[in-house]
Amino acid sequence: MSTALRSKGFIALALLPALILFLIFVIVPIFWSAYYGFFEWKGLGSAKFIGFGNYNEIIHDRIFWNALLNNLLLVASAIVGQIPVALLLALVLRRNTLFSKFIRSAVFMPMVLSTVVVGLIWGYIYHPQFGLANFVLEAVGLESWTRAWLSEPHINMLAITVPINWSNIGPYMVIYIAALQNIPSEIGDAAAIDGAKGWRKLISVTLPMIWSTVVVTLVLCISGSLKAFDHVIVMTNGGPAHSTELLATYMYNNTFHVYRYGYGSAVSTVIMLVSAILIAVNYAVTRRRNA
């Protein structure tokens, strides 16, 4: 037996436990949940088969579309607010000086905090009576800008994107720094000889070199925003009156507050479909640009 074959066999064997766990806890439940979506089921007692009834109801539910819009808003804010900022910080802080190490840790810090803590902190920052946000605005003479950040519809969803972006920039920055440090120094030298510097160098040399990393972070960003849940549950619980409802909180509330397990399962299946579509679109777009 050749060593290559043996090592292939070994790789397969070593992957098996993880694969089995993945199958049991990820793949199988996805199909189960799609299956439960065809039932009217309260979680207790018997389930009633209703075909596409739940899926039909989802399509006609205003709250679902609002939740989807909110999720897309999160995706947009993540792509605009996390990726470029993280990239910029990575470019500025890529050298291993003490100062940039300090700033790097500071940017990464929110990631270390549990999202529940982040949610609570920002809940207090946005507090309508003694929150920091309103206090600062009043201190600089912008009384007219003060508001109940988390309870005014139209504003509260934007207010929520801030802590989410704030806590997610750190890991992307670290990924970019790693990618930047992996660019061989010869390439930088060659670019310098060719006279490329500043923007030119960034766009023609650096970005193409780390493009595959950018694509990966985009996928992480999109899927992360689509399954966003914890910050919102802590800060607003999807309220007031469903105005900050996300797909995940909508699914959770239907399943565990209203006890409509079948409907909740159908919603989670739809969430998966939406994510798959968005990520496919992302791949298509970034691949074309790469070619």
Partner: protein, 443 residues
């Protein structure tokens, strides 16, 4: 270095997963063995939500600990689960038919669903062993737990009084305002406090049941009367689109429009609102008996002495009785259908220990209302609680909305009140509530 680190992480995760599997497997094994071995150690599991630091939680935990000490043959596995996630945890294990032997249930739709799913067994045996125990409960105490005639499935160890009007006497005196007994007086008070930059009524409606449970229940009952509400909940001869209910929602909207609540009431929680009120930023707060417990645990005696309690003001021409408080039997301990034999005997003993006369008195003396006729020692409770205890004792109780509505409809009215607070019309909310309740009553 790197592969080694990766490997160690994978190993760590595997260990955690295996450990988690092992634990749940062990639990399962323990409850199936319960039936056998009468002379040997009996395994008993109990889940409750008395996990907090307040007096009542400590009292109930103390009773359970005492039981474990007095009964060395019982191996008690007691789990205190924080109230916020308790319903969900219970529903989840119920769906998997893995309920513990004894568990705390709330009165209302959840325990009814557990009964319908065949997961409960009656605890009537306790009432037969202790004849005078059952009679000392207040009227209506067993109403939510009599799923079958002459059988009780739980005994309330609390009473929910959900709409007590708390007010700050110092602020009322300072601005020379009369404590409102009628709607017009309430509106006048709201205006005076607003003019003086004091929040008239503190409200923390982030978890949206608050406005429904504390304000709407009593407000609507005053307008429509209890009879109408029970009919509408059953969808027999009354609908939530009837003009009297739209009128009741209109009164709520009137409160919103006259800026009775502080800004952003929908984004702060009930505890924050309690703090806001007790610090003297708001003149009134409409809240349940749980606020007594919270204030007793967190506020200073200095702050408490300014606070008094009364009932919500009456509505001109309302069909309901004035001067009532919405409320009902609180939660109690229920017994799993799967618990048999020696474990069942021990379980019934424990349920009696938690809901018997001594426990009821102890709970009442931990600044928490009970549905049981007992006398409390004034020196053991806070002055505010003593006032409220006597207020509730002589006041008629009317139904809380979400105890009678389906989970679906309760969600609709909870969110509907938030919608009214952000500009929706009472008519549209009444229509949504009617649709939701009709859907769940006639499937």
């Amino acid at each position: 270095m790197k592969p080694l680190r990766k490997l160690s992480i994978v190993l760590l995760m595997l260990t955690l997963i295996l450990a988690a599997c092992g634990e749940s497997g062990g639990q399962k094994a323990s409850s199936t063995e319960d039936g056998q071995g009468s002379g040997e150690k009996v395994k008993l599991s109990i889940w409750h939500n008395f996990s907090g630091d307040d007096l009542r939680a400590k009292t109930v935990r103390g009773i359970i600990d005492q039981f474990a000490k007095d009964n060395p043959n019982v191996e008690l596995d007691a789990q205190a689960i924080p109230p916020d996630g308790y319903r969900q945890r219970l529903s989840t294990v119920a769906a998997g038919n893995e309920l513990p032997d004894i568990f705390f249930v709330y009165a209302g739709s959840q325990s009814a669903e557990l009964f319908k799913a065949g997961l409960l067994q009656p605890i009537t045996d306790i009432a037969e062993q202790h004849k005078d125990w059952k009679e000392k409960f207040l009227p209506g105490a067993f109403e939510p737990y009599e799923f079958e005639p002459n059988q009780i499935y739980s005994a309330p160890i609390g009473m929910s009084a959900t709409s007590i009007l708390y007010y700050n006497t110092a602020l009322f005196q300072k601005y020379n305002v009369k404590v409102p007994e009628t709607w017009d007086e309430l509106m006048a008070a709201v205006k005076v406090f607003n003019d003086n930059k004091i929040t008239p009524i503190a409200l923390g409606n982030k978890a949206p049941w608050v406005a429904q449970s504390t304000i709407l229940g009593t407000l609507a009952d005053h307008v429509t009367g209890t009879e109408w509400f029970k009919n509408a909940a059953a969808q027999k001869g009354a609908k939530f689109t009837d003009p009297e209910f739209v009128e009741a929602l209109g009164y709520f909207k009137q409160l919103v429009d006259s800026k009775a609540f502080q800004d952003g009431a929908n984004s702060i929680d009930n505890t924050q609102a309690e703090q806001y009120f007790v610090q003297g930023n708001a003149a009134m707060m409409i809240s349940g008996a749980w606020t007594l417990t919270n204030l007793a645990a967190s506020a200073s005696e200095e702050q408490l002495k300014d606070i008094d309690v009364t009932v919500m003001p009456s509505i001109p021409g309302g069909k309901g009785e004035a001067k009532t408080i919405s409320g009902g039997a609180g939660g109690g301990m229920a017994l799993s259908k799967r618990t048999e034999g020696a474990a069942k005997e021990a379980a019934l003993k424990l349920i009696y220990a938690i809901s018997g006369p001594e426990a009821q008195k102890a709970i009442a003396e931990s600044n928490s209302m009970v549905m049981y006729d007992t006398d409390i020692d004034q020196s053991k409770v806070s002055s505010l609680y003593y006032k409220a205890f006597n207020l509730v004792k002589k006041t008629a109780i009317t139904p809380v909305y979400d105890a009678y509505l389906s989970a679906d409809a309760a969600e609709v009215i909870n969110n509907g009140l938030q919608e009214i607070m952000t500009g929706a019309s009472p008519e549209s909310i009444a229509k949504k509530l009617q649709e939701a309740q009709a859907r769940s009553v006639t499937p």
